[in-house]
Symmetry: C2
Subunit: 359 residues, 2 copies
């Protein structure tokens, strides 16, 4: 279905149709000019030769400082997706399994399938605000559970767990000697502004420059973990991607220097957009109010057929993603609140009107 | 040993020692300013969002044109190393094996190990000019041989096979229904200037922008193959690296537009350096005269202990790589002829003098 939608989008755009694309997990802001300038200067200065498979020491140090660990605990990766793939590929053995809370980012499951181990999926319910239940977690883990993947805030719900709940899960995992993988792609965009996550021995942090800094296509992210885990990822980097371009790593250093302001601005923008979305759609659909990021994951009324609804919407010029792309959520849609106010209002009103027509 | 050398280089440089580094497989030329400018313009124009996991259509078309195939036969990869990894990872099954001619680029063997299949290594002999013997090839292939990896010109010997020999190997493989993987990283640098390799059904071409264009740290390359093979690599890209940065792909398009001149200049430079090297070392060491690229792979006199020789050389300010890094060649060293004439002369004379001292 996702493929069919992509094809239709491609076709419609080819035909010259103007679309409001709220289907992509991509912010519409760009990194500041100073970051772009850094790339150019670096290339001009010859900072474009082979680099370390671990990443540049200066960047690793800066990241280590943020998470209160050592540079040896950090590896730079071409996006956090590669980081997660390399991590799972080098760590998962035979009958190991990983717990994934659903709705979930499609990549987790696809990576599990590719590597050939079991993903144990726990379906969270909108009716319970997508909260994680510790008893259920307790029942699901077994002696082969190696990782729990925690994506808080979550793609596609844009719900970040409370710090208290996160602590409960971390403590639970520590007790069971299970590692937590915290995919923190959207953490900077928590409306309540979180501190940087502090490294711990049973914690692995995956992060990316894509969302906070609007650098999706730059392909740069990182993994923070115990040194023995990092070493294995570095060894895989050496025989696959070699390194992340040095000039992009220098830009990432520049980005981190300005993180406070950039993240603050992005957070404010996301909050405003979420409020706008809530206001427009609240009488038409059920959803859990986002407290982070730039998604909303509403449920369509029962009588609506999701795929048909999404395709009709596309013909009307608005692209969103059917919930089935994120697990067993056939009645949901994911809307990326990633457009200017005017377009966003227009699109969300159109979505609401389409629903009114059907109820 | 390689690791020990890297550590020593790092230490010596930290101590402020100036080294002539002929150990890295990296040209010392840079891409023209227009290519750098393209990156900057592209980023400024917002060409930095998520891109296709297959690569940009315009770049794929340009590459397809070069190799006389369709854009569907091309996938853009972050370096040809990733291309080779993704290719072997998605194609090799159970008991499949691949033939590697040695001396060989270390990555082939490491990738085989990582993926867990057999690399059947055929050791070529300097005394026979590193020529491939078809009878030996015939004896080595078996019913499980899926690929023959052809690296012509070869890293580390800088020997390109004659077109006639290449044709014989391609014909042999076609008859046996084995696929040839042509790793053409150095093909543009053949002193006799070869035409672009033409795609064929049992041929897979791996290439990179690293060497010809001096874009090593940019991490961009490609694979040309049958569509069914390309589709599998695209699917792996989707769940790992996502895409190569769009702004780098636009720079690659710019690079291809200027390929004739850039490759021509690089070829001439390489030829001159090879001639210089041959002249300086010919009375001191045995070697096969390079007909391409920027390496030379001489054999040390029998009484010299290679590792000790290489480490002593390093203390004297010159870095080279012991032959053992490229297979069962313990008496060889690889010299990267990748420095200006003055430095190269100085380094090669120093190497020659060190040998004279010992014979």
């Amino acid at each position: 279905m996702l493929y069919e939608i992509s094809e239709r989008i491609y076709k419609l755009e080819k035909e010259g149709k103007s679309l409001i694309k709220l289907n992509i997990g991509e912010p519409d802001w760009s990194p500041p000019a100073s970051i772009m300038q850094t790339v150019f200067q670096a290339i001009k200065n010859g900072k474009d030769s082979y680099g370390s498979a671990a990443g540049e020491l200066e960047l690793r140090k800066k990241i280590a400082e943020m998470h209160e660990c050592d540079a040896k605990n950090v590896v730079i990766t071409p996006g956090s997706k590669w980081g997660l793939y390399a991590l799972l590929k080098t760590q998962m053995k035979n009958n190991d399994n990983a717990i994934i809370f659903s709705p979930h980012w499609t990549a987790y499951e696809l990576i599990c399938q590719e590597i050939g181990f079991t993903a144990k999926i726990i379906n969270l319910k909108m009716e319970r605000n997508f909260e994680i239940n510790l008893d259920e977690l307790q029942k699901t883990v077994d002696s082969n559970t190696k990782f729990i993947i925690l994506n808080s805030p979550c793609n596609p719900t844009s719900i970040g767990l409370s710090e208290q709940k996160e602590k409960q899960i971390l403590d639970f995992a520590a007790e069971k000697e299970i590692n937590i993988i915290a995919d923190d792609a959207y953490r900077d965009l928590c409306f309540d502004s979180r501190k940087e996550r502090k490294f711990a021995d049973n914690l692995i942090i995956a992060n990316t420059f894509s969302k906070t800094f609007g650098m999706t296509g730059w392909r740069i992210g990182y993994i923070v973990a115990k040194e023995e885990i990092i070493k294995k990822i570095i060894a895989l980097n050496q025989i696959t991607i070699t390194c992340v371009p040095l000039f992009l790593q220098l830009a990432a250093i520049k980005a981190l220097e300005q993180k406070k302001k950039i993240a603050g601005d992005a957070r404010k923008l996301c909050k405003k957009r979420a409020e706008l979305a809530v206001k427009i759609i609240q009488d038409k659909m059920q959803f859990t109010k986002p407290n982070a990021g730039f998604y909303i994951f509403p449920k369509l009324p029962e009588n609506l057929e999701t795929n048909k609804f999404v395709l009709n919407l596309l013909e009307a010029g608005i692209a969103v993603v059917p919930g089935a792309a994120f697990g067993d959520y056939p009645k949901h849609i994911r809307i990326s609140l990633s457009a200017d106010n005017k377009k966003l209002t227009q699109a969300l009103e159109k979505i609401s009107d389409s629903i009114k027509l059907h109820i």
